[in-house]
């Protein structure tokens, strides 16, 4: 993170009447992810997903008041008092309209194609074609160099026609790789039409990292830069990416900086305990 990233960003933001205070990397990610969530979209969060949950809460407070949220795949339209220390435990389901039994209800609503269409995914590795690995690092899956936690619902969500929004707080060459060591979550597979040929609908749409926002070029399905976060340079992103990242046509946009109103919502209402900053230790 450069010093510039901590400054109020962009000429327009600095000179605007309500100049926003400097946003942290976590806050920039929350806002970028929130803006990808449309009103009335139906989104589910998984474990240890503090940034997506903060983004969901922010989207609901701003442009997406009718966002449907199944908190940790249990709490329908939950209203947690603040972002808790776990995105799986009961404090997140606070004042939910329903505690959805997972076996018969959640997995039926989630698999039949009509509901719960969006899932936020973090992978230990994410590759150029949006495949994610949360299983093993190394050449031999039976005897891995690093045993990661495992698929959980990822191995399902990638295959069930969901809109996948990836996020990672560690945009580096270990995370953003040419090819994942193991496909836990099916993305665009080998690119092009391979995913569709396999009969899989949906797929990865965006990647929000601590440095930038990316999408996937429609024809090749290769990852493509959308915008650099405030204060981040193109070379910095290229150096931190383990493959040849496609660039947008023309001038490269800057991710719109969080507004003063968005920051106030995050700091005062959504996450007064600063749980999201724990994603950036030190």
């Amino acid at each position: 993170m450069t010093d510039a990233a901590r400054e109020p960003t962009g000429v327009s933001a600095a000179s605007a009447p309500s100049a926003a205070p400097a946003a942290s990397a976590a806050e920039v990610m929350v806002v970028a992810l929130a803006r990808l969530l449309a009103d009335r979209e139906q989104v589910v969060n998984g474990a240890a997903s503090f940034i997506p949950v903060a983004a969901i809460l922010l989207a609901r407070e701003t442009h997406a008041p009718d966002l449907v949220w199944l908190a940790s795949a249990v709490g329908l339209d939950a209203r947690p008092r603040r972002l808790p220390d776990s995105t799986l435990e009961a404090p997140l389901w606070h004042r939910a309209a329903m505690h959805m039994p997972q076996l018969e209800d959640f997995w039926s609503y989630a698999t039949n194609g009509r509901w719960l269409g969006t899932f936020c995914v973090r992978g230990a590795q994410i590759d150029r074609f949006g495949n994610a690995n949360n299983s093993v690092i190394g050449d031999d899956p039976q005897r891995p160099r690093v045993r990661l936690p495992g698929s959980a619902g990822l191995g399902d969500m990638g295959s069930l026609g969901k809109r996948l929004l990836f996020w990672t707080t560690t945009h580096d060459r270990r995370t953003l790789v040419e090819r994942v060591d193991f496909v836990t979550c099916a993305g665009w597979l080998g690119g092009g039409e391979e995913r569709r040929r396999k009969g899989l609908a949906g797929g990865p749409e965006a990647v929000v990292t601590n440095l930038c926002t990316m999408d996937f070029e429609p024809r090749t399905k290769a990852m493509r830069l959308v915008s650099l976060h405030p204060g981040v340079g193109l070379d910095q992103v290229r150096d931190a990416t383990g493959f040849d990242l496609l660039l947008p046509a023309g001038e490269i946009p800057t991710t719109p900086a969080p507004t003063a109103a968005e920051l106030a919502l995050i700091r005062e209402k959504i996450d007064p305990d600063r749980v999201i900053d724990k994603e950036f230790p030190g």
């Binding site: 404090p91 997995w107 495992g150 698929s151 959980a152 619902g153 191995g155 295959s159 193991f182």
Partner: protein, 294 residues
């Protein structure tokens, strides 16, 4: 019908070395830890363990050499990170991690529960998971549409360990506020034997006052063990939350194997739940206050 009330030691004696044991668990939630500690006390070996989301219980079984295989979707202590002993066991080749997606393992259990040869899922298609599961998962064709789906072979664990709010001596098991997580619904139907620890043993008359809270019928239950706060240090909604301090200290202890093993041994030394509650002391009150957190 005779009483199914047992001590934890008597109940866990129903588990044999080499058994496939399905253990209720959702990360830091709802793990029958009193029963898990008893597995360790009795020195079970070569267990295959299935959880929906394994947590500290799986980690302890791994540290103590009780298990040789995990068959399920994930082992994680969520905000407290990977389960260090389990992870090392897999990386060193002592434990096999037979990894499934969530719908994959649930389909296997559903087939086991229904007495069917397999159940199908659309999960895992396109991932590298099925190729490592040739004996459990195969791609087949829908005979009606021709679509490719994954057949997941029936899984019938030898025994399952669950924790519930209440049960009577006959074995009717009750949950307050319904069952949220999938294990309670599927494990007792698929497993050959079912052992349930409960916060409180109540009379059959009391059960009959709240039949809507009964989620497992007595005929599917083999043993009932009273263990108040029996999920500690994991949470048990809505009675108590997870013990954050305990999990943090556990992660710290795992940096030195001797300390990790000493932590497990000192907690497994408690012969009864009353002794255990004395050992953890203030944690009982600390974790009972859901409202404070929620």
């Amino acid at each position: 019908m005779g009483s199914k009330l047992m001590t934890a030691a008597e109940a866990v004696a129903l588990v044999a070395d080499g058994d496939h044991v399905a253990i209720q668990s959702m990360g830091t939630q709802a793990t029958p830890m009193t029963l898990v500690r008893e597995l360790i006390r009795q020195g079970r070996r070569e267990l295959t363990v299935t959880c929906v989301v394994g947590g500290i219980g799986v980690d302890w079984l791994a540290w103590k050499g009780c298990m040789s295989c995990f068959c399920g979707p994930i082992v994680s202590m969520e905000a407290f990170g990977l389960a260090p002993g389990f992870r090392r066991g897999v990386e060193e080749g002592r434990i096999v991690f037979e990894e499934y997606s969530e719908t994959g393992i649930l389909a296997r259990l559903a087939a086991g529960a229904r007495g069917l040869p397999f159940q199908i899922t659309r999960g895992m298609i396109g991932t590298d998971l099925p190729a490592l599961l040739p004996d459990a998962v195969r791609e087949i064709e829908d005979p009606f549409s021709g679509e490719r789906v994954l057949a997941c072979r029936a899984l019938r664990p030898d025994v399952c360990l669950l924790h519930a709010h209440r049960a009577d001596a006959k074995g009717n098991v009750q949950y307050r506020g319904g069952t949220i997580w999938p294990d309670v619904q599927s494990f007792p139907k698929a497993a050959a034997r079912t052992i349930v620890s409960v916060e409180e043993v109540v009379s059959e008359a009391e059960v009959r006052r709240r039949p809507h809270e009964t989620v497992i019928p007595h005929f599917a239950v083999d043993a009932v063990v009273e263990a108040r706060h029996g999920c500690h240090p994991t949470s048990f909604f809505p009675d108590y939350t997870y013990d954050q301090a305990f999990h943090r200290e556990w992660v710290a202890a795992c940096r030195e194997p001797e300390r990790a093993l000493a932590t497990i041994d000192s907690h497994c030394a408690a012969a009864t739940q009353a002794e255990y509650l004395e050992l953890i002391g203030a944690a009982v009150a600390r974790t009972r206050d859901w409202a404070e957190q929620a």
